[in-house]
C-alpha cells in the first residue's frame, strides 16, 4: 500500500472513530479495478479508500446532499471530504455562496501531482501552479513527484481559439456540441451547478425545447459556461463526467481567463469574499 493511501485511511479512520464526522467521502476501487466515489460511514471501512491519478471527480459536489438538516432539531451532518487543490476552491465558493459551513466540513487535502482524463493528463493540470490546497484540515503529501510548470503557455490552447474567426469558433463548438447527448452529467458532476431547477429543464418559463438537437445543446452549454463565470474553479469534473469526451474545460478556462483579466479575480481564494458577479462595487472599472 502506498504511503499516501495509508495516510488517507488513517485520517478517515480517526475522524470516524472520534465521531468528528459521520461520513468520509473519498474514492475506492471497484471489482473491475476502476475508481469510484466511496462514502465511508464506519471506521472499519476506511481501508477501502485509495487515491490515484484517475480520481478526477470533484467530491465536494456530494456535499450538496449533506448540507441540510435531515429533520427537525437535527444538526447538519458533518462530513470529511478528500480534496485536491482545485476542489478546495469549490469549498470556498460554496461557503461564500452560503451553501455550506466550514465548521461542518473536514478537508483531507492532498498535494496534487495532477490527474488524468481518459488516460491523458488533464490540460489544466499541465498548467496548474497550485499544487497545495489553499485550505485543509489534514494535508497528505503526494507519492508522485510534483512538477510545477512555468506559467508561459498556460493559455496556449485558449489563444489558439481566440485567433479563430467567430465563424470558425462557432463551427468548432457546434461540431463538439453535436456529440452532446444532453445527459447533464457535466452539470450534475459540478459543485457549482446546484440550482434547484436548471434553466435547461425549466417548464415555466419554458426557455428551451426538449429537443436533443444542436441549438438546444449549444444553448445549454453556453448558458452553463456563463452561469459559471467567476464560479468555475477549473476542477474539470464536468469533462471527466462527460461520456462523449466534449472538451468543456476549454470553454470554462476561456471564461475564467476573462474573469481573471477583467477583475483580477480567481475563484475560491477567500471564503469570506462575496461572490464576484453577485455584488456591485461602484468603483469597479471594466478593462477598456
Amino acid at each position: 500500500m502506498t504511503k499516501m493511501n495509508k495516510q488517507i485511511r488513517a485520517a478517515a479512520e480517526k475522524y470516524l472513530k472520534d465521531s468528528i464526522v459521520s461520513c468520509v467521502i473519498g474514492y475506492e476501487e471497484d471489482s473491475r479495478g476502476r475508481i469510484r466515489p466511496a462514502f465511508i460511514e464506519d471506521a472499519k471501512d476506511a481501508d477501502r479508500l485509495i487515491w490515484n491519478a484517475t480520481c478526477n471527480l470533484n467530491l465536494v459536489n456530494y456535499l450538496h446532499q449533506r448540507k441540510l438538516s435531515p429533520g427537525k432539531d437535527q444538526p447538519v451532518p458533518k462530513t470529511a471530504v478528500l480534496v485536491r487543490p482545485c476542489d478546495v476552491r469549490s469549498i470556498n465558493l460554496l461557503i461564500s455562496e452560503q451553501q455550506i459551513k466550514r465548521e461542518n466540513i473536514k478537508l483531507i487535502g492532498i498535494t496534487c501531482p495532477g490527474t488524468e482524463i481518459n488516460g491523458q493528463p488533464r490540460t489544466i493540470c499541465q498548467f496548474c501552479m497550485e499544487r497545495t490546497p489553499v485550505d485543509w484540515d489534514v494535508l497528505i503529501d503526494s507519492d508522485q513527484p510534483i512538477e510545477i510548470p512555468s506559467a508561459e503557455d498556460i493559455y496556449e490552447d485558449i489563444k489558439e481559439m481566440e485567433n479563430w474567426t467567430p465563424a470558425e469558433r462557432l463551427a468548432y463548438w457546434q461540431k463538439e456540441f453535436d456529440n452532446c447527448i444532453r445527459c447533464y452529467a457535466c452539470r450534475l458532476a459540478c459543485p457549482g451547478c446546484y440550482c434547484y431547477e436548471c434553466v435547461s429543464e425549466q417548464v415555466d418559463p419554458h426557455w428551451t425545447s426538449i429537443a436533443l438537437d444542436v441549438p438546444e445543446k449549444m444553448f445549454f452549454h453556453v448558458m452553463r459556461a456563463y452561469h459559471l463565470a467567476g464560479r468555475c474553479v477549473g476542477c474539470d469534473a464536468c469533462e471527466a463526467a462527460c461520456p462523449m469526451n466534449i472538451p468543456l474545460s476549454r470553454l470554462n478556462r476561456k471564461v475564467a481567463r476573462e474573469i481573471l483579466e477583467m477583475f483580477n479575480y480567481k475563484t475560491g481564494d477567500d471564503p469570506e469574499e462575496a461572490p464576484l458577479l453577485a455584488c456591485f462595487d461602484p468603483h469597479e472599472r471594466l478593462r477598456t
Binding site: 473491475r32 469510484r36 459536489n61 447527448i181 426538449i210
Partner: protein
C-alpha cells in the same frame, strides 16, 4: 453456408447506400459511433461496440410526431413517412433491443404509430461478435455474441469474408443479386466470459424493494441521464407541444418527442410539483426494477440486453452487473432468513 467476400460486401453496401439510408459504425476522433454514411469506405471495420446504441434510427433522440397549425381552422399533420434505413454492423445485443421495443410499442395496444413506421422502414444487418468484451454480459440476460434475434441478416467473419445468414423476408429481399459462394465453412464459436452472475427472476426482486442496498448504491449517483441514453433498451420519452413560429393570424406548433430518463430528477414530477420518486435512491432503484421486474412482468421482455455501455459510461462507476450479482447474494440471505 453463404460466404461473401469483403470486396463484394463493400459493393453491396455501396449499392444499398444509393438506394436507401445506410447507417454504420464510423470512427469519429477515436469514438465509435453509428452515422449515416454515403460510402462503405467510411465504415470503421475494426469496431468493437459503439459508444451509443443504434436506437436513434428507430427511436430518434428527437422527432416531431405531429405538426399543428392554428389559424381560422386548425390543421394537424403527421410527419412524412420515415426513409427506408438499413443499419449495418448491428451487434447481436443491440439487435435484441428491438424485441424489447416491440413488446411495448407494437405488441400491446395501443400501437405506437411513429415507432411502427420506423420499424417497418428498418432493416438490420448484424455482425456477430468474435468475443465478449470487457463489460459485456449478454449471456446473463438471455443473449449471445452470435444471437440472431431481431436481425434481418447476420454476418459472421470467416477467413475469406463473411458468412451470411438470411433471417427474414426483408433480409432476403435486400440480399437479392449479391455475389456469394456456397461453401461448407464452420464459423468459429465466439469467446465468452465464464462465471457471469445469474439474473434473478422478476418475481423475486420485490423482496429487496426496501433493502438498504439501494440507498448505499445511490450515494454516488448523480441523477444524470447517461445510463439511459447509452442504453439500447431504455425507451422512455418526453412529449411536449412547442411553438415553432408565430405569424400574423397563425400559430405553428409541433408535438416533439425526445428521449428522457427515469434517473433524472424531474422525470416523475407531476402537475402541482409533487414527485413520487423524489430521491435518487428511488430513481436509481427504479432503473433496475424496470429492467428486471416491471418490464418483464408487464410486457414479457427484459429491459436489458447486456451490452455493458452503462457500465462504461457511468461517471461514478455504478455497475449494473455488480447490481445483478449483489441482488443475487442479497436474495440468498433473505431466503436464509425466511
Amino acid at each position: 453456408m453463404k460466404i461473401i467476400t469483403q470486396k463484394h460486401l463493400q459493393e453491396w453496401l455501396s449499392r444499398l447506400a444509393g438506394e436507401m439510408n445506410l447507417v454504420a459504425p464510423v470512427n469519429s476522433k477515436g469514438k465509435m459511433i453509428y452515422r449515416e454514411i454515403k460510402s462503405p469506405e467510411q465504415i470503421a471495420w475494426g469496431f468493437e461496440r459503439t459508444k451509443m446504441p443504434p436506437k436513434n434510427w428507430y427511436f430518434p433522440m428527437t422527432e416531431s410526431i405531429l405538426e399543428i397549425k392554428q389559424g381560422k381552422e386548425t390543421k394537424i399533420t403527421e410527419p412524412p413517412e420515415p426513409q427506408k434505413t438499413v443499419i449495418f454492423g448491428v451487434r447481436p445485443c443491440d439487435a435484441r433491443s428491438v424485441i424489447a421495443f416491440d413488446a411495448l410499442f407494437l405488441n400491446k395496444p395501443p400501437v405506437d404509430r411513429q415507432y411502427a413506421r420506423h420499424r417497418e422502414a428498418l432493416i438490420m444487418i448484424g455482425l456477430s461478435c468474435p468475443q465478449m468484451w470487457d463489460t459485456c454480459f449478454c449471456l446473463t440476460v438471455g443473449g449471445a455474441p452470435n444471437s440472431k434475434e431481431g436481425l434481418d441478416i447476420l454476418l459472421s467473419q470467416v477467413e475469406d469474408g463473411y458468412a451470411v445468414e438470411l433471417l427474414t423476408v426483408k433480409g432476403e429481399t435486400i440480399f437479392e443479386g449479391v455475389t456469394f459462394k456456397e461453401l461448407a465453412i464452420k464459423v468459429d464459436e465466439p469467446q465468452i466470459h465464464n462465471g457471469l452472475p445469474a439474473l434473478r427472476k422478476s418475481d423475486q426482486w420485490m423482496a429487496l424493494f426496501n433493502d438498504l442496498y439501494w440507498q448505499k448504491l445511490s450515494d454516488s449517483c448523480l441523477s444524470c441521464r447517461v445510463c439511459s441514453f447509452v442504453c439500447p433498451t431504455c425507451r422512455c420519452y418526453d412529449v411536449r407541444d412547442e411553438l415553432v413560429a408565430l405569424k400574423p393570424g397563425l400559430k405553428e406548433y409541433e408535438r416533439l418527442r425526445a428521449w428522457d430518463s427515469c434517473t433524472a430528477t424531474g422525470y416523475r414530477r407531476i402537475a402541482g410539483g409533487h414527485n413520487p420518486r423524489d430521491t435518487k435512491e428511488k430513481r436509481l432503484r427504479n432503473r433496475f426494477y424496470c429492467k428486471f421486474m416491471y418490464y418483464p412482468e408487464d410486457y414479457g421482455s427484459l429491459g436489458c440486453v447486456g451490452c455493458g455501455r452503462c457500465i462504461d459510461a457511468c461517471p461514478v462507476g455504478i455497475d449494473i452487473l455488480e447490481v445483478i450479482e449483489n441482488v443475487d447474494h442479497l436474495l440468498e440471505k433473505v431466503q436464509i432468513n425466511v
